[in-house]
Point group: C2
Chain length 224, copies 2
Amino acid sequence: MDGSTKPMSNSQRAVQELRRLIFSGELGAGSDHLESELALRLGMSRTPVREAALTLAAQGLVEMRPRKGVRILALSPDDMRDIYDVLTELESLSAENAARMGYSEAELSELAKAINDMDGALAGEDLEAWAIGDNQFHSELVRLGKNSRVQAIAAMMVDQVRRARAMTLQFRPLPLKSNEDHRGVLEAIRAGDADEARRIHYAHRTHAKDMLLGILEKYRLLHL
Amino acid sequence: MDGSTKPMSNSQRAVQELRRLIFSGELGAGSDHLESELALRLGMSRTPVREAALTLAAQGLVEMRPRKGVRILALSPDDMRDIYDVLTELESLSAENAARMGYSEAELSELAKAINDMDGALAGEDLEAWAIGDNQFHSELVRLGKNSRVQAIAAMMVDQVRRARAMTLQFRPLPLKSNEDHRGVLEAIRAGDADEARRIHYAHRTHAKDMLLGILEKYRLLHL
DNA sequence: TGCGCGCTTTATGTATGCATTAGATTATGC
DNA sequence: GCATAATCTAATGCATACATAAAGCGCGCA
């Protein structure tokens, strides 16, 4: 019973595959690639590749420059700050709105599960697993905020910092405080305290941003 | 000496022209249009039109549905609330950051000019002119916030509500309070008071949002 | 008369070819 | 030897052709 037997357009496949290649680092940050190269690599003609590139360009993952090919965008520390600032604002709004929705415990179970997963990961000092839980927490939080634009934008921003996050994960201190914050946000949402949910999450994101920028500076990671 | 003699790709022209057709209402909200129709209308082949449609789809202005053509997206009151919430957050962040930059009077002149323009427009009860000044103020504020992602996102959101704004403009009360708010934001930025700039702008946007949603409800404007 | 089946129509998704022109390369004059 | 112009190369932007598959249509049958 494989539900995935839906046929998919080459164009969509190209988007998916290019995203994978970018996130995995197979297409390095800052590297250029001709449309024809990529088409060859993906086993299709230039047309769907070009459409995919256009889509990814609109999402801020690549840049299309005439005659230079498709450039995988690199991020400077300033870019990271900008992106984290956006995420801070929009996720805090989501936390606030989520707290106002009067969610049942069942509806908050995904959020709670993400937190538990992170606790487990921390106990085993498994940073990889922790990062998955963290992503889960943040995307679920945004989902609970019930604002489709915020969801779309947050997803885009997360995509843009994906590589950098993977890179810096190894350098960051064990995120003990982070888990505390997450619990605080969940508690505030449970309690329906919108201001408190926003406040805690805002502080959490701001703290995470400062830490990340500190790492970038400390290790001179200038373009990821 | 017309500097605009740069040749422009048909694809870009298509984006420009489709945007114009959408904003002017010539392509009505909710209407469907075949790629071939649009190509004929713009005097080019389907390829650049399709690329343009893809770009506009990524920006949330249209939707591409197989065999149904390109649909001009309509906005529900919920959509409006979502969009204004995003704008509220990101512009407030911009105001805060702008206040921290220590801008000179010269650098704030555009903002001041927009406010003066609005005053003039209000004196003459020229709502059209006031709206232009208002757009100018908000986009300049975002520019002063110096966050390229915020700028891009805010521009997208503004585009999405463009039609609706034009529509509701005639129904809204004369924006006297609005101008007061604008002055307050400028003053706070001048004074370098980031918290105050954020606070005033946040309240300003929240108020504008509530008024707009009130109008939509009052006049039963359900999809613009 | 209502329903289902297959045919037709047609819009899209994709491949392909070609004109254009930016950028590289080579040739040339000083 | 260096700067500049002429030439060449090749990647893109676009038009076009076509296969595919979905929507509509009509026809036959119950």
